[in-house]
């Protein structure tokens, strides 16, 4: 395979590829990121292949395997072009029908199309889905169009054109000026202006500089970086090469978490393809610029997402953070000036060069430009990755795009920014979101995880969950984080067990403030946020746990009983059979009862009780006491 040694050859390559494209009547696109594969997309691909073969349609029907399409709730799914017909939640048994009806007869298969859970309206075309309509998919739209394992697909959608423009028509200073003009801010969470970061690193004097792509997406509940790396790895690589040129770096690293095997695979393939084609390595595109990228797989430590820890990890050491300054731009990897950006930030770079900073900066709010990808997960109808312009309101994301709360429940809070972020309550739903408004609300943008919580989510338990997470992931280097998160977790655990005391809340706040101000790195400095925001917005819930020993959301096990309502139970034996500890007694067609002394509160009976009957309930507070007392009196 020949290396591209001039921008004109890149153009020729693209033209040739487009001319050689088989003229299919229809193309079936299968979403096959990790979510897709976990839901069975590989079996769908197998079924499609065998069906196309069997019906002799190879010449007329194309099959394209792509990364994630964003609407993860409906995996495994396919889109049939040119119409854009979207079929959801497929099984291999559906495939013969899809081929016979839609491919051969141009008919829709009604049972496979999407129904909006909120309105009941049905949609056959992907572009009409309310989920997609309010999005602005600048970065993620290409996930529909390219096979991430084929560089040719990226070339056909003008891939590496921004790189050619930068290398041959722009000076490094001009590139930085363009990024500064776009007002792009770091998508990893803190929102530092990207162009400024590059400039500082460029101005640092050194014989060697490095750039790093931080793909250690450790925030639980966030997976947009995984989706970009899996679905469009070349866009990130192109952004990195442009950044390296602007900064004057000769070497780059992509640090990917080991929990993302498919992303590691796709990035490795993409790097090799770029190298073979002369887009990485010596004399890129025939210019005098040399640059290469290595991939480093993380090893399962959340703290390695922090930039100084990440560099320590690349150097082959414990991922311990260190004091800043010196900042990485001054002294980074192996003591050399280093620029670190997150995956999504890098992916924005080619886009800004192609469209121009002026056009790019029209999207968004005064302080935050462009789009942001959020992972909309938790108790929401339309779970998935959504890319929206900065400044959109939470309400628009959760209700218009997300289709509202699951099972018609009430919205309670949305958690943004992972363990460093906070919980935002219902009264803030009309908040236009950008870096600054979220910070004012006590949370942060973070990497973009958005976990929706409903009335069944206990906010004290959520705070405990996050503190459990941070105290486990604290590297232990500095005392405030190591000991402080542990103490906070202990207090929260006590409260969720009904052992809380009134002074606990003051102590929590005091500890939170100490940990926040005295910790060494971002992990500790932000770890108290989930506690502080839940205390700020959901204090009555804490008080209920402490004063009434009750968990209003019916989550905290120690404060609950499971109870079979005798008037409702039909005696079907299902719960009795499903109970792992044989705590349920009763005979067929006779009322069942739970022995509270034996019950471990696993919830199996509630899950298994038929929805039509619904005889199993959870009770807390006074009602719980009453049930336990009754039980006691029966014994006496």
């Amino acid at each position: 395979m020949k290396k591209i040694s001039h921008p004109s050859q890149l153009q020729d390559w693209k033209k040739r590829l487009l001319a050689e494209q088989p003229a299919y009547d229809k193309t079936i696109v299968v979403s096959s990121g990790t979510c897709g594969q976990a839901s069975g997309s590989l079996q769908i691909i197998e079924a499609l292949n065998s069906e196309l073969e069997k019906k002799d349609l190879r010449e007329t029907v194309g099959l394209e395997i792509t990364g994630c399409h964003g609407f993860c709730e409906l995996e495994p799914n396919i889109v049939i072009y040119p119409q854009g017909i979207f079929y959801k939640k497929l099984t291999p048994n559906d495939i013969p029908r899809v081929i016979d009806e839609t491919i051969l007869k141009n008919k829709i298969v009604p049972s496979l199309i999407y129904e909006d859970p909120r309105t009941g309206r049905r949609f056959s075309l992907q572009k009409d889905f309310p989920f997609y309509q309010k999005q602005n998919r600048l970065l993620t739209e290409n996930n529909f169009r390219i096979d991430p394992t084929k560089i040719e697909d990226y070339i056909m959608i003008d891939g590496y054109q921004a790189l050619a423009k930068v290398l041959f028509d722009m000076t490094a200073e001009e590139v930085i000026a363009e990024i500064r003009a776009s007002a792009l801010r770091g998508r990893g969470g803190a929102g530092f202006p990207t162009g400024l970061k590059w400039e500082i690193c460029r101005n640092a004097s050194s014989d060697r500089k490095y750039i790093i792509c931080n793909a250690d997406e450790g925030d639980p509940g966030a997976y947009m970086d995984r989706s970009l790396l899996e679905g469009n790895p070349h866009s990130v690589i192109e952004g990195m090469i442009i950044g390296a040129y602007a900064i004057g770096a000769a070497e780059g690293y992509i640090y990917v978490r080991t929990e993302y095997p498919l992303a590691v695979k796709h990035v490795s393939i993409a790097l090799e393809q770029a190298r073979v084609r002369g887009l990485l390595g010596k004399s890129i595109l025939g210019s005098e610029f040399h640059f290469d990228i290595h991939i480093v797989e993380g090893a399962g430590a959340f703290v390695s997402g922090e930039e100084t820890s990440l560099m320590a990890s690349i150097e082959g050491r414990h991922a311990f953070p260190r004091q800043r300054p010196p900042f990485p731009a001054q002294e980074g990897l192996w003591g050399k000036p280093t620029n670190i950006n997150n995956v999504e930030t890098w992916a924005n770079v080619p886009l800004i060069i192609n469209r121009g900073a002026k056009e790019y900066s029209q999207i968004g709010t005064a302080g935050s430009k462009g789009t942001k990808i959020f992972s909309l997960v938790g108790k929401i109808n339309n779970t998935g990755l959504v890319e929206v312009p900065m400044g959109i309101t939470l309400r628009e994301i959760i209700y218009d795009i997300g289709g509202g709360i699951k099972d018609g429940k009430n919205f309670k809070a949305v958690q943004t920014g992972g363990p460093s972020g906070g919980c935002i309550p219902a009264e803030k739903l009309d908040l236009p979101i950008d870096y600054d408004t979220l910070t004012q609300a006590g949370s942060i943008m973070g990497s973009g995880g958005m976990i929706v919580m409903d009335e069944d989510t206990c906010m004290v338990d959520v705070a405990r969950y996050f503190l459990h997470f941070t105290q486990e992931e604290s590297c232990g280097k500095c005392v405030p984080c190591r000991v402080g998160t542990r103490q906070m977790h202990d207090i929260l655990t006590r409260i969720t067990r009904g052992l809380g005391e009134e002074r606990d809340l003051d102590q929590l706040e005091e500890l939170a403030n100490s940990v926040q101000s005295a910790s060494l790195c971002g992990l500790g400095q932000t770890a108290p946020n989930p506690v502080l925001t839940t205390l700020r917005y959901f204090r009555p819930e804490y008080e209920a746990h402490i004063k009434k020993k009750s968990c209003p959301a019916l989550v905290c096990k120690e404060l609950l009983v499971y109870y079979i309502e005798p008037e409702i139970c039909v005696g079907c034996l299902l719960c009795k059979k499903g109970c792992p500890v044989e705590a349920i007694s009763g005979e067929r067609k006779k009322v069942h009862a739970i022995d509270q002394d034996v019950c471990i509160k696993c919830g199996a009976c509630l899950e298994i009780c038929p929805p039509k009957i619904k005889a199993v309930f959870k009770y807390t507070g006074k009602k719980k006491e009453k049930i336990l007392k009754k039980k006691l009196s029966e014994k006496v």
Partner: protein, 150 residues
């Protein structure tokens, strides 16, 4: 022998350490203590430092893992959908605690802080195979699949 072969693919630099540990872990299912001495000699760093690094990161284990590695996700999205109950049910069915291996060396149960497939949670992964929307009642069938597989 096999460790020497892995070491031969690298340049004997400290920055290779995590890559090497990944390779050894993948090859043996754990990091055998004798491998540590060989790595230390090759990279010219102390065994002490290597033990420090490998116990810092969760991806490495000093004990052999079972034939099937059962990983239950406890990311936020899985947590609010009941991931903890899934772990507890797994613990009951396998009769080991998270982090342990069954006496017959068949299963190792572990938890992970997020696999990034939050839309389909709660998620369980067995040797790379993903199970989505796992409920308490699906736990037994998942385990059974591997018990019977031999």
């Amino acid at each position: 022998m096999e460790i020497a072969k892995i070491l031969g693919e690298f340049h004997g630099l400290q920055k290779d350490l995590i890559h090497i540990l990944h390779r050894v872990q993948a090859q043996f299912g754990y990091i055998p203590p004798e491998a540590v001495a060989q790595i230390a000699e090759c990279l010219k760093i102390s065994e002490n430092e290597i033990f420090g690094v490998l116990t810092f990161y969760k991806a490495f284990s000093l004990e052999p893992r079972g034939q099937y590695l059962v990983t239950v996700c406890l990311g936020t999205a899985c947590h609010v959908r009941g991931g903890v109950q899934i772990v507890e049910e797994m613990e009951r069915k396998l009769q080991v605690k998270a982090g342990q291996t069954t006496p017959d060396k068949k299963f190792t149960l572990e938890t992970v802080n997020c696999l990034g497939c939050c839309a389909i949670g709660p998620v369980v992964v067995v040797n790379g195979k993903y199970y989505s929307h796992v409920t308490l009642n699906k736990v037994e069938p998942i385990i059974k699949e591997y018990r019977e597989a031999g």
